[in-house]
Structures are given as structure tokens and as C-alpha cells.
């Protein structure tokens, strides 16, 4: 018997209708962090270029990274990197058939959010202390 009511596409307006289990939140955040890093690589390469161009360039970069905006960008990109890294490790563990039960995935998502929150907090301290 053919079921014509199976959902094929999800509209943005439907998104709030979902329960959004923790594992799903962990997954979409991983994706968003990845897109931020795709753009962020440009900032990283700009910083690397400037830092290796000359001693003067190195000091210019230090000045930029010590400005409020520079600190915010650095912290933001480190945060995206930290989350993408931790959620990526979760993915690699899933490949090894770890945490792939419903309870396991809930636990792994909790650990992912907790560990990355700690790393993001530490990254903030690191950036502020220069």
C-alpha cells in the first residue's frame, strides 16, 4: 500500500515542529560551525600571511588581534574550531560504533556540548590574555 503522506521535504516553517533531540542539535551546530570555518580560513590565511611577511607585519597582526574587534573574531573562529573539532571526534567515534545507540547518542551529544563549552570558555581567556 502506497503512503502518499510521507514527508519528502522539510520546509523552514516546519523546523519548529520537530522535537530537536540533542543529537540533532549537535549535528546542525557541527554543520554551521563548518560553514563559519569555511569563511574563517580567509582570516586565518590573512593572519598567517601578515605574521610571516616581516617583523613589522607580525607586530601589526599582534595589534589587530589585541583590538576588541580582532579579539572577537579570533575568539569566534577559535570557538567554531573547538566545536567542529569536538563534534568531529564524536563522528570518528561513531565510525567505530561507539555511542550509536539512542542513549549513547544523547550522552555523546551532552559531552560534545559540555567539552566544547569548556574549550570555548578557555579560548576566551586565552584571547583576552593575548
Amino acid at each position: 500500500m502506497k503512503n502518499d503522506h510521507r514527508p519528502i521535504n522539510v520546509n523552514p516553517s516546519d523546523l519548529m515542529a520537530f522535537a530537536w533531540p540533542l543529537a540533532a542539535l549537535a549535528s546542525i551546530t557541527h554543520r554551521i560551525a563548518g560553514v563559519i570555518l569555511f569563511v574563517g580560513i580567509a582570516f586565518g590565511l590573512y593572519a598567517l600571511d601578515l605574521s610571516l611577511s616581516s617583523a613589522a607585519g607580525f607586530d601589526v597582526l599582534k595589534g589587530l588581534m589585541n583590538s576588541p574587534f580582532g579579539m572577537f573574531v579570533t575568539w569566534g573562529l577559535l570557538s567554531a574550531l573547538a566545536y567542529h573539532f569536538v563534534a568531529g571526534i564524536k563522528h570518528l567515534l561513531l565510525d567505530m560504533e561507539m555511542a550509536d545507540t539512542i542513549e549513547g547518542s544523547k550522552f555523546a551529544a551532552r559531552v560534545t556540548f559540555l567539552v566544547s563549552a569548556v574549550l570555548i570558555f578557555l579560548a576566551g581567556i586565552w584571547v583576552i590574555q593575548g
Partner: protein, 122 residues
């Protein structure tokens, strides 16, 4: 083998393995660089310049950059095929997705050449 049109390399297994292999390289590079910066404390130009003058560091950096391009391409491609579809964007979706993919490729190719110039062009 069945011809697949659902992934960039026409082979989901290849995408899967490339995404994992590059992830390991990028994780290693991230841990190394963050660890180095933390251990070094106050970074000075001479030390920084010295680090990137080593052949092994230049190779490690290029490996990480090539990995970034492959990894980001598979990720961005997946996002593009997930969201830029006719259901959301109408008849022109295929065209929009092509433009999106070209922008992704040009961006990643630019990153790669920029990295080569930074390491060996200055």
C-alpha cells in the same frame, strides 16, 4: 559498480574516506599548532618565522591546507545538495547550486594558492 550521482566523486565511499582521512590530518595540525602556541607563551617573530622555515612544517601546513580544501569541498557540496533544491528554490535551483559550487571551488582554490604563496613566495 553502480554509477552514483549523489556525491561529488561519484562514489560515496570515497567521499566518506577522504572526509575521515583529512579530518585526522586537520585534527593533528590543530592540536600541534594550538599546543605550540600554548607552550611558547609570548610569541616573538623570530621563533614564529623559524617554525615556518622548516621543511617539515611547510609540508605539514600544505598537507593541512590541501586537507582543508578537500574536507571543506565535501562538506560544502553536501550542504549545497541538501538545501539548494527545486523544492526550495524552484526551477532555477540547479543553476543556483552550480553557481554556489563554482564559488566554493574558486574560494578553496584561492585558499590553496594563497597558502603556497605565503609559505614559499615571501
Amino acid at each position: 559498480m553502480v554509477t552514483q550521482v549523489t556525491s561529488f566523486s561519484r562514489n560515496g565511499l570515497s567521499d566518506f574516506i577522504v572526509q575521515r582521512a583529512t579530518a585526522y590530518i586537520l585534527a593533528a595540525y590543530t592540536v600541534f599548532l594550538v599546543g605550540y602556541l600554548l607552550i611558547q607563551g609570548e610569541m616573538v617573530y623570530a621563533d614564529w618565522q623559524m617554525l615556518f622555515s622548516h621543511t617539515w612544517m611547510q609540508i605539514f601546513t600544505m598537507l593541512a591546507l590541501v586537507s582543508t580544501c578537500a574536507h571543506a569541498w565535501i562538506g560544502m557540496w553536501t550542504i549545497g545538495t541538501d538545501y539548494i533544491r527545486e523544492h526550495y528554490f524552484g526551477q532555477s535551483a540547479n543553476g543556483y547550486r552550480l553557481i554556489y559550487q563554482v564559488i566554493c571551488i574558486l574560494t578553496l582554490a584561492s585558499y590553496l594558492f594563497w597558502g603556497v604563496k605565503i609559505l614559499w613566495g615571501n
